[in-house]
C-alpha cells in the first residue's frame, strides 16, 4: 500500500464555522471529538486512481469507525500510533499506522475487489453489498466485445426483467425499453434516464462509447427516490472520467455492412398475372392480362420490388477518446462520428458527438466537475412512412408486372392492378424526412466537504435541444402536388439539485448515511413550422417555401415544471442487517389544485446471511443476501395542458384552391387528473459461490398501478376523441433470475457466461366504472382493419387483441351451413359466437396477446490468450404478432386489390384444392384482418452478436495496443414468424402505444450486420 502525506490542515475551525444558515432542513450532524485524539482525513483510491467509496475505516482496538464517501474521503479520530484498518467486501484489508500527519492518501491495490463493489444509486453511490433493492449494473466490459452503436443496444438482453425491443430497424430507429413491463397504458412506459445526475435525459443523443457504467434500478425501494417518475424503473448512466496518470489515447474505427434480415416470398410477375386472372374468372370479371402478356412476364420476370427498395448498406464509425490527468485534475475528451446507412434506400443516420468531462479537486474541501457534451444527429427517412405509406408495405402491394420507371424514365405513378397508393421506390426516393437534431448538455457540479463524511453537492444542468426538420414530398408521391415543410423546435430543460449527505460509522457496527435533496426542474419548448404546397420549383424542396401555391404555418409552446424534496436513510448494522428508507415529495404543474403534490415513500431491508456464523460455517457462500423492499412511485408522463379543454387549429376550403383557418373543439380536458401511482413489493436473493465464480440473483415482484391514466374514448356522437382520466388498475408481477459465472478458467482459456431470464405477467384489474371493455388501439392497420385492434378487459392481460376466430375455409361437406352465412365452400369461416349466422361485432373476442411474457439473454465470452469469441443470444417469447404485412399481401383490402404473397398459390380452388385454409377467390368471401388467421406466434431466439476479436500480443509491438474484431449482429434468428422480423412493431407512438405491441404493418425491418472493428491504444 502506498501512503502519501499530502497537504496538512487539521481542521479545528470547522466546528465553529459550521453554518447555521441555509440548511435547516437537513439533519443535525454529530461531531465527535476527543481531546487526546486528532482528526485524521484521507482519501482512498484504487490502483487506477479512482476514489473508492464505501470502504470501512476503523481504528484497531477502538470503537472508532468511518466509511469513505463517494469521493473516497473519510475522516476519523485517531491518535498517533493508532492503526487504521481499511476493509471492503471479501477483503481483509490493509492497515496504516498513524504518524505525525493528519491527511493520508490510501491506494488500495487491485487485489481488492474494488470498483465493482460500488454502484451508482439515485443521488449517490452505495456499496454493492449494502444494496437492499433490485438493481443491475452493466459496465463497459460487458459489451466491449460487441459493435454497439446506440445506448439501447447495451441494455438489450443484459438485465433480467428489462425488455428491449427494436421496433424499427431504421438507423437510430425506435427502441422500446421496458423494465418490469408496462404499468401505464396512456402514460409513457419508458424508464427514466439519468445521465451523470441529469434527470430525464435523452439517451438517444449519447455516444455509447462514452459510457462507463449503467445501473438499472428495478424495484421501488431503488426507484422511489425518483418519485413521480420512478414507476417505470430508472437507468442511471455514468460517463467516463479521466484517470490520473499517463495520457491515454484510444482510437477505434469500425466498418459494417448491413442487409435486411429477410425477404418475403412473393409471386413473380407471370404467376401474379395468372393469379389475378384466376381471381377475375372466379368473380365474373374480365381477365386482366392476356396470355401474350403473361408469356412476356415469364420471360422478363417483372419487377422484384423488394430488391428495388432494399440494399446492402455500409456503416462507418470512428471513435477517439483521450484521457489523463494529475492527482487533482483529470479529464476525458471524446469525439465520435457515425455514418449509418439504412437497408432501405435513401435512409441514413449521421451522428457527430463530442464530450468533455473534467473534474478537479480545487481545495481539500471543494471539488468541481464539469461535463459538457454535444451531439448532432442528422437523419433521413428513419421515421414516419408507416403502415400503408411505408415503402415496405408498398413493395409487397405493388404489382410485379409494373416497371419501376416508365419508358420516359419517370416513376410509374399508378398501379392499375393492385396497390392504390404510391410506387415504393418513389416513396423511398421522391420524398424525404430530414431531421437535424442538436443536443447539448452541460452539468456543473460543486462539492463541498464540511468534514469527512458530510458533504454538500450543488449541481446545475442545462439540456438544450434543437430539432430542425425539412420534409419534402415529391410529385410522384403527391399526385403531382409536391409539397415541403420546415420545422424548428427548441427545448430547454433546466435542473438544479442540492444534495447534502452525511455518512458515519458509529462505533464499528452502526453505519449510517443520511441524505437530503431539493431539486427543481423546468422544461420549455418552443416550435414553429411552415409548409408550402404545390411547389412551383419542386427541386428546391424545403429551401424556398415562398415559391408555393399555398402555405401553412404553425407555432407551438409548452412548459412545465417539477419541484421535489427528497430524503434517504441508509443504515447498516454490523454489515449484516441493512435498511434503506426514502421519501420524495413531487409537485408538478401538469396537475391542478390538490393533485399537484404527491408523496412517494419506500423502504428496503436486507439480511446478509453470509455474515452469520452458521452460514459461514457451511463454507459454501462467498455472499448470501436476502432482500425485501416496498415503495410507491408515480407516473406523470403525460403532456401538459391535459386538464384543459383546448381547441385545435384546422383549415378547410370554402373557395376552390384556398383554405381558411378555423378552430375545432379538441379532446375534453379533465381538471381532476392526478398522478398514476404504482406500489411495488419485491423480494430477492443474491448469492455468490465458488470463490465468486458463480453468482445467482433472483427476484419476485408485484406491482400494482392505481389511478391508471387512460384515454377513455368519447363516443363519436359526443364529438369523438378521448378524455384522459385516472381510471382502472393493472398489476404486473414477475420473476427474474440472473446467473453469471466463469465456468472455465485455466491459464490461457477462460469462459465467462451470464444468463438472465424473466417472466412477466400482467393483468388488468379494473376499468372505468361500468365498463367491461376498453379499446386502446388507434386502428393501426388503417386500410386493413376497420377498428381498434387492442382491448382491455378486467382479468385479461394488457395488449390483448380483439378479433374473430378463424376456422379455416368452409369445406364442401358444410355447404349448407355456409349458405346460412351467405358463404360457399372455399370462403373464410369464422366462429359465430352468438350463433345468429351473421359474423359481426358480437363475434369479436380476445384472440391473443402482443406483449412478450418471457425474455432471456445469454452472453458468453470465450477467451484464449488474446483471442475472444463473444456469443450473445436474446429471446422474447410468449406473444403473438398480428401480421398485417402478410395480410396486406394475401388478401384484397382497401389498399391492395390483388394478392402478391406466394402462398396464394396454395389457396382453396374448387375441384382442385379443397383442403386449403387460404380462402378461394369468390364473390362471397369475406376477409377480416382482425382474426386469428393473421395471428402468428412471435417467439424468437436471435443471435444478437457473434464476434471474434484478437488483441495483438504486446510483445510484438511496444505500443500501441491493437485489437481487431469481426462481429455479426442479428445473423441468425430462430422463429416461426412469417413476416420480416418478429421484433419490429408498427405502433411506436401515440396513445396506448406501449401496450399496443405486436402489430407489424410494413415496419422498417431490422438488419443483419457484419462489422470489422479496430482498436488502437496509445
Amino acid at each position: 500500500m502506498n501512503t502519501a502525506n499530502l497537504s496538512c490542515s487539521t481542521d479545528e475551525k470547522l466546528k465553529s464555522m459550521f453554518p447555521r444558515i441555509v440548511f435547516v432542513w437537513v439533519l443535525c450532524v454529530p461531531v465527535l471529538l476527543f481531546a487526546q485524539e486528532k482528526k485524521i482525513k484521507g482519501t482512498v483510491l484504487d490502483d487506477m486512481g479512482h476514489p473508492l467509496p464505501g470502504i470501512n475505516v476503523t481504528v484497531k482496538g477502538k470503537h472508532q469507525g468511518a466509511v469513505t464517501d463517494s469521493a473516497g474521503s473519510f475522516g476519523i479520530l485517531a491518535a498517533k500510533g493508532d492503526v487504521l484498518r481499511f476493509s471492503s467486501v471479501n477483503y481483509e484489508g490493509d492497515e496504516q499506522t498513524i504518524g505525525d500527519g493528519s491527511t493520508y492518501l490510501m491506494a488500495l491495490h487491485s487485489k481488492v475487489r474494488t470498483i465493482s463493489d460500488v454502484v451508482v444509486v439515485g443521488y449517490g453511490v452505495q456499496r454493492k453489498k449494502d444494496l437492499t433493492g433490485a438493481l443491475t449494473s452493466i459496465s463497459t466490459k460487458d459489451f466491449k466485445d460487441q459493435p454497439i452503436t446506440s445506448v439501447s443496444q447495451i441494455l438489450q438482453g443484459r438485465s433480467a426483467g428489462v425488455q428491449v425491443t427494436s421496433n424499427a430497424g431504421a438507423p437510430g430507429g425506435n427502441v422500446s425499453v421496458r423494465i418490469r413491463g408496462n404499468n401505464s397504458i396512456k402514460g409513457d412506459n419508458n424508464p427514466l434516464y439519468v445521465i451523470d445526475g441529469f434527470v430525464g435525459a435523452d439517451y438517444s443523443t449519447l455516444n455509447p462509447a462514452d459510457i462507463e457504467s449503467m445501473e438499472v434500478l428495478k424495484d421501488a425501494s431503488a426507484t422511489a427516490i425518483y418519485g413521480s417518475r420512478g414507476a417505470n424503473g430508472v437507468v442511471l448512466i455514468t460517463t467516463k472520467r479521466g484517470k490520473p496518470g499517463q495520457l491515454q489515447v484510444d482510437f477505434s474505427p469500425r466498418f459494417s455492412s448491413s442487409r435486411v434480415i429477410k425477404k418475403l416470398d412473393l409471386l413473380n410477375a407471370a404467376d401474379f398475372a395468372e393469379t389475378a386472372n384466376a381471381n377475375a374468372a372466379a368473380t365474373g370479371t374480365s381477365p386482366i392480362f392476356t396470355p401474350d402478356q403473361i408469356a412476356q412476364f415469364r420471360k422478363t420476370g417483372g419487377t422484384n420490388w423488394q430488391d428495388e427498395i432494399f440494399r446492402t448498406a455500409p456503416t462507418q464509425e470512428y471513435q477517439l477518446g483521450i484521457s489523463g490527468g494529475t492527482d487533482k485534475t483529470s479529464f476525458y475528451i471524446s469525439g465520435n462520428y457515425l455514418d449509418q446507412q439504412g437497408v432501405i434506400i435513401n435512409s441514413y443516420l449521421k451522428r457527430y458527438a463530442f464530450r468533455s468531462n473534467l473534474q478537479s479537486q480545487l481545495t481539500d474541501k471543494l471539488s468541481l466537475h464539469l461535463n459538457v457534451s454535444a451531439a448532432r444527429l442528422q437523419s433521413c427517412n428513419t421515421t414516419g412512412n408507416l403502415g400503408r405509406f411505408s415503402p415496405v408495405t408498398q413493395a409487397i402491394a405493388w404489382s410485379p408486372t409494373l416497371p419501376v420507371y416508365d419508358a420516359k424514365g419517370n416513376y410509374t405513378l399508378n398501379d392499375p392492378i393492385s396497390s392504390i397508393t404510391y410506387n415504393p421506390v418513389a416513396i423511398a426516393k421522391d420524398q424525404s424526412m430530414r431531421n437535424d437534431n442538436t443536443a447539448a448538455n452541460l452539468m456543473l457540479g460543486l462539492r463541498y466537504e464540511f468534514i469527512p463524511g458530510l458533504s454538500l453537492d450543488v449541481s446545475g444542468g442545462v439540456n438544450y435541444t434543437n430539432a430542425q426538420g425539412r420534409n419534402y414530398t415529391g410529385p410522384a408521391v403527391s399526385q403531382n402536388l409536391p409539397s415541403a415543410s420546415r420545422s424548428s423546435l427548441e427545448g430547454i430543460a433546466l435542473q438544479s439539485t442540492n444534495n447534502l449527505t452525511y455518512t458515519h460509522l458509529f462505533g464499528t457496527d452502526h453505519r449510517l448515511t443520511l441524505m437530503g435533496v431539493f431539486e427543481v426542474q423546468s422544461f420549455t419548448s418552443n416550435g414553429f413550422n411552415a409548409s408550402g404546397n404545390n411547389l412551383t420549383y419542386p427541386s428546391m424542396e424545403a429551401y424556398n417555401l415562398a415559391l408555393a401555391a399555398t402555405y401553412g404555418v404553425g407555432t407551438t409552446y409548452s412548459n412545465y415544471s417539477l419541484y421535489s424534496y427528497l430524503g434517504r436513510v441508509n443504515y447498516s448494522f454490523k454489515d449484516k442487517y441493512l435498511l434503506t428508507a426514502s421519501l420524495r415529495r413531487d409537485g408538478s404543474s401538469k396537475f391542478q389544485g390538490n393533485n399537484q403534490y404527491s408523496v412517494f415513500p419506500s423502504a428496503g431491508v436486507a439480511w446478509r446471511l453470509s455474515e452469520e456464523p452458521f452460514i459461514k460455517a457451511l463454507h459454501k457462500f462467498d455472499n448470501l443476501k436476502i432482500r425485501a423492499g416496498y415503495g410507491v412511485t408515480g407516473n406523470q408522463a403525460i403532456n401538459p395542458y391535459q386538464t384543459l379543454t383546448t381547441y385545435s387549429n384546422v383549415t378547410t376550403a370554402f373557395t376552390t384552391g384556398t383554405v381558411t383557418p378555423g378552430i375545432l373543439l379538441g379532446n375534453p380536458g379533465n381538471p381532476n387528473l392526478k398522478w398514476e401511482t404504482t406500489r411495488q413489493a419485491d423480494i430477492g436473493v443474491d448469492a455468490d459461490f465458488l470463490q465468486n465464480r458463480l453468482s445467482v440473483s433472483a427476484d419476485y415482484y408485484v406491482k400494482n398501478t392505481n389511478n391508471l391514466l387512460l384515454s377513455v374514448a368519447v363516443p363519436a356522437y359526443a364529438g369523438g376523441g378521448s378524455v384522459l382520466s385516472n381510471v382502472g388498475k393493472v398489476q404486473n408481477k414477475g420473476i427474474e433470475l440472473t446467473v453469471s459465472g466463469t465456468p472455465v478458467m485455466t491459464k490461457d482459456f477462460k469462459w465467462t457466461s451470464s444468463f438472465n431470464f424473466a417472466v412477466l405477467n400482467n393483468t388488468v384489474k379494473q376499468l372505468v366504472q361500468g365498463q367491461d371493455t376498453l379499446f386502446t388501439g388507434s386502428n393501426v392497420g388503417s386500410g386493413l382493419s376497420t377498428q381498434s385492434e387492442f382491448v382491455l378487459i378486467p382479468g385479461q392481460r394488457m395488449g390483448s387483441y380483439w378479433g374473430l376466430t378463424y376456422l379455416g375455409t368452409w369445406k364442401p361437406k358444410d355447404a349448407a351451413d355456409a349458405a346460412k352465412f351467405g358463404a360457399q365452400p372455399g370462403d373464410a369461416r369464422y366462429q359465430d359466437l352468438d350463433g345468429n349466422n351473421i359474423i359481426n361485432g358480437a363475434d369479436y373476442h380476445v384472440i391473443g396477446n402482443g406483449l412478450p411474457k418471457y425474455s432471456w439473454g445469454w452472453n458468453n465470452s470465450f477467451t484464449y490468450k488474446g483471442l475472444t469469441l463473444n456469443i450473445f443470444l436474446q429471446s422474447l417469447s410468449g406473444f403473438d404478432k398480428l401480421d398485417y404485412t402478410y395480410a396486406a399481401g394475401i388478401t384484397a383490402n382497401s389498399d391492395v386489390r390483388q394478392a402478391t404473397i406466394a402462398d396464394i398459390r396454395n389457396r382453396y380452388i374448387p375441384g382442385v384444392n379443397e383442403t386449403s385454409d387460404i380462402p378461394a377467390f369468390s364473390k362471397t368471401n369475406k376477409n377480416y384482418t382482425l382474426s386469428t388467421r393473421f395471428l402468428e406466434n412471435g417467439s424468437f431466439i436471435r443471435f444478437k452478436n457473434i464476434g471474434l476479436s484478437y488483441e495483438l500480443p504486446k510483445s510484438l509491438l511496444h505500443r500501441p495496443g491493437i485489437t481487431v474484431s469481426l462481429s455479426g449482429t442479428n445473423l441468425i434468428t430462430i422463429t416461426k414468424y412469417k413476416g420480416f422480423d418478429p421484433e419490429t412493431n408498427s405502433v411506436t407512438s401515440g396513445a396506448g402505444a406501449d401496450v399496443n405491441q405486436g402489430i407489424d404493418y410494413g415496419s422498417y425491418p431490422n438488419a443483419k450486420t457484419v462489422t470489422l472493428g479496430f482498436n488502437f491504444k496509445f
Binding site: 374480365s286 392504390i420 463541498y448 403531382n480 401538459p640 379543454t645 381547441y647 376497420t786
Partner: protein, 487 residues
Amino acid sequence: MKYFAIISLLSALTFSSCNKTLQEDPNGQLTGAGAVNSIPGLQAAVLGAYQPLKNGYTSGFASSAIVAVLMGSEDLTTHPASNKQELREMDQFAVNATNSRINVIWLGCYKAIQNANNVIANYTKVSGDPAVINPLAGEAYFIRAFSYYWLVRLWGNIPLITTADYSADVYNVKKSTPQDVYKLIESDLQQAEKMLSNTKAAPGRANAGAAKALLADVYLTEGGWPIKDASKYALAAAKAKEVIDNKGAYGFDLVPDLAQLWSGTPASIGTPEEVFAFQFCASCGNGNSVYGKSSMPSDEGGWDDYFTEINFYNNFPAGKRKDVTFYTSFKTSAGVINWQNGITKHPYYNKFRINTPTPGYLTSSTNMSTPIIRYAHVLLIFAEAQARAGAPSTDAYAAINKVRARAGLPDLANLSATDFANEVVQERSWEFAGEYTRWFDLQRLELVESANANKDASDLPPLRPISKASYWLPIPYGDAQLNPGIK
C-alpha cells in the same frame, strides 16, 4: 470558507424559485368559452365546424364513404371482388357494424354537430353587430340541421345531442326517435333561414337560400317513410317556391349546359347551380376523393369504387344527359374498349371524372366541389311536393320541364297527380344519378325492395331478404361498445 459561501448562494437562488407556484402557462392554447367570446372567435368556430364534414378519409363526405352508405340504390354498385368488401356490404344489404365507411359519415356529422352546438350555445354572449353575429349563428344552425338530416335518414333512431360539453352522461345517452330528430332539424332550419344572409360569404358556406332549400327537402322527406306526415308536402312546396322566387337574390340558377356542369374542370366548380356544395383545395391537403380515381375503371388506372348498375344504365333515357352522365368507352393501353369488355363489365360515371390538366386525369385528391343540393333539386322538390300536396300546378310543370329540357327530354303535360309525382321521382333518379339522392328517394317512398328485385345477373344480389330493418345502417361498432344502450 468563501467557496462554501458561493455554494450557499447558488443554493439559495434555487430555493427562491420555489416560491413560484406550479402554474400552467398555456401560451398558444385556446381553451374554454373564451375562444368564442368575440366575433373573430365565433367566426373561427363556425368555419371549423364545417371541417369535419369534409375531412379527407377521416370524416364526412370527402371520400367514397358518401357513396358507400348509399349503395343500396340502383344507380350505385361496386367491384365484385378487389378491395371493395366494405362497399359490397352496403350494396348487398349485409352491413356489418364494424364497417369503417359508416363511421366516417357518423363521426363527420356528429363532430360538426358538437362544434355547431358550441357556437349556438355561445353566440348570444358575444357583443357586437347582430348583422355580423346572426349569420354566423345561422350557419351553425344550418350545419347542425344538415348533419342531423343525414344521420336520421341513414340510421333512424340516433342520439340527439344539443350540447358541446362533455360529461360522464354521454355514455348513457338514449336514442331519440326520428320524430324528435326531425323536430330539431326543422326548428334549426327555421332559425337558419331567418338569421342567414342572402349572399354566401364563400361558395362553400350556407346562405338563407340554402337553408330554405334544405328545409324544403326535409319537409318532402317527412311526407314519406318513416314520418309519413302528408301535411309536410305543402310546406315543402311552399319553401321550395320561396327559393325559386328569390333565386336571383340567393344567386341560384340552372347551369344551361349539362356538359359545363359535369366538365371535370374548374368551370364546374362554384356554379350558380350549387345551392349548397362542399369546396376543396387538393394542394392544401383538403382534397375531394369522391371524384377522380374512385369513380374510374381500373382499365384506365381507376379504383372501381362505384359505378352504375346495368339496368339503371339500360333504362336511362338516351340523349345528352345520358352522354354526360356515363362513361362507356375505356382508353386502355391495348386501345379503346367498350364497357362490356372492361374488367368489371359495367358502364362508369363520366360526371365524377377529372379532366384537368388532361382528360381522365388520374388523381384521388381533387379540387372538384361536391354539390349536395343543386338548384335542380329545388325545382324537382317543388314539382314533386306540389303534386303530392294536391295537384301539379303550372309552376310544377314548369319546374320539371326546365330540368327535362336541359336534359334533352320533351316536356311533360296533362298527368294525374300520382303519375306526375312518379315522373318527378324518375326524373330525380336520372338527373341526380350517383348524386346522393336516389337511395333516400327509395327509402322515403318505400321502394327499396322493388328497386333491388330485378337486378341484372351480373350485379351483386342482396344477401338477405330486404325488410324495413335494412333501410337503416347499424350503429357503428365503436359507439355501440361505449354505450351498449344504443346498439
